[in-house]
């Protein structure tokens, strides 16, 4: 049984995530789309906190909300004048997008309903993974530990830095 406060918090977060993600893909001002994306990412971080993954919530805020959205805002300001509206959608492309979204919704709902027992699983007790445990898992080489992907991500980030400089430099 959850406390009343956490239920209220859940409904606020779920509703704002839904509303802001709908607005992020329908608004005609691109800078506003980035702002609504930021709110959605904050809602996701709150979901991580509610599920007791505090480290993950902190990473979500620091990397997504702090890094990626700032990158988006800079790119938008570099490539378009603020206040520009995107052109109105044709009904054909809107219908195409709506059909694709509804098909996705139906397929996902079907798989959700066909595994009803899993979907209504109760939240089991869990201790929040502490930093020592997370660090040992990231740096270990045993079963269920992630040293190799960790190093692969470091190489990927290096390649990304070099690639970014090479692609965006002035010729």
């Amino acid at each position: 049984m959850e406390s009343v406060g956490s239920i209220i918090l859940y409904f606020i977060v779920a509703l704002s995530m839904i509303v802001f993600s709908v607005m992020a893909v329908t608004t005609r001002k691109i800078l506003r789309a980035a702002t609504y994306l930021l709110f959605t990412l904050f809602g996701t971080a709150v979901v991580y906190f509610m599920l007791d993954y505090e480290f993950l919530g902190a990473v979500q805020i620091a990397v997504y909300a702090g890094g990626i959205v700032v990158l988006f805002v800079f790119a938008i300001l570099l490539t378009s004048r603020p206040g520009d509206n995107t052109e109105r959608l044709t009904s054909k492309s809107r219908m195409l997008g709506g059909v694709a979204a509804v098909i996705t919704l139906i397929v996902a709902c079907y798989s959700l309903v066909s595994r009803c027992a899993l979907a209504f699983a109760q939240k089991p007790e869990m201790e929040t993974p502490d930093m020592q445990q997370i660090g040992a898992t990231l740096m270990g080489t045993g079963a269920g530990q992630y040293l190799l992907p960790f190093e692969a991500v470091s190489v990927l980030l290096l390649a990304c830095i070099i690639g970014g400089v090479v692609v965006a430099r002035k010729r």
């Binding site: 993600s21 893909v25 993950l56 990158l71 988006f72 269920g144 990927l156």
Partner: protein, 103 residues
């Protein structure tokens, strides 16, 4: 009232469908990238929810989400570098009008 797994899966599903809709209807490349981020984010929520509700003693879903966030950051940075480069060459970033590979 008990908040079960499906209460977290439904908002994530709606977020994913918004991402699909936006990715198809948007013409601006940065707006398409924003829709892509929405989809990635919805999948991250699913990983975490299944980890928390079905296998709480393991941490696979959490670490998969961590790596997914790192890779999404790298991918966004590189995509924005490419978009700015295209803007410099073609003076716009509308996917409908970009039909040449070389300028």
């Amino acid at each position: 009232m008990e908040i079960t797994a499906v209460y977290y899966l439904i908002p994530a599903l709606i977020m994913f469908c918004c991402g699909v809709y936006g990715f198809i209807t948007r013409k601006n490349m940065i707006a398409m990238l924003i829709s892509l981020e929405l989809m990635l984010n919805a999948v991250d929520i699913n990983f975490v929810v299944f980890n928390r509700f079905l296998y709480p003693e393991q941490m696979e879903g959490m670490f998969f989400t961590l790596f997914a966030i790192a890779i999404a950051a790298a991918e966004t940075a590189l995509a924005i570098a490419i978009i700015i480069n295209i803007f410099r060459a073609a003076k716009n970033i509308d996917v409908r009008s970009l039909n040449e590979m070389k300028f």
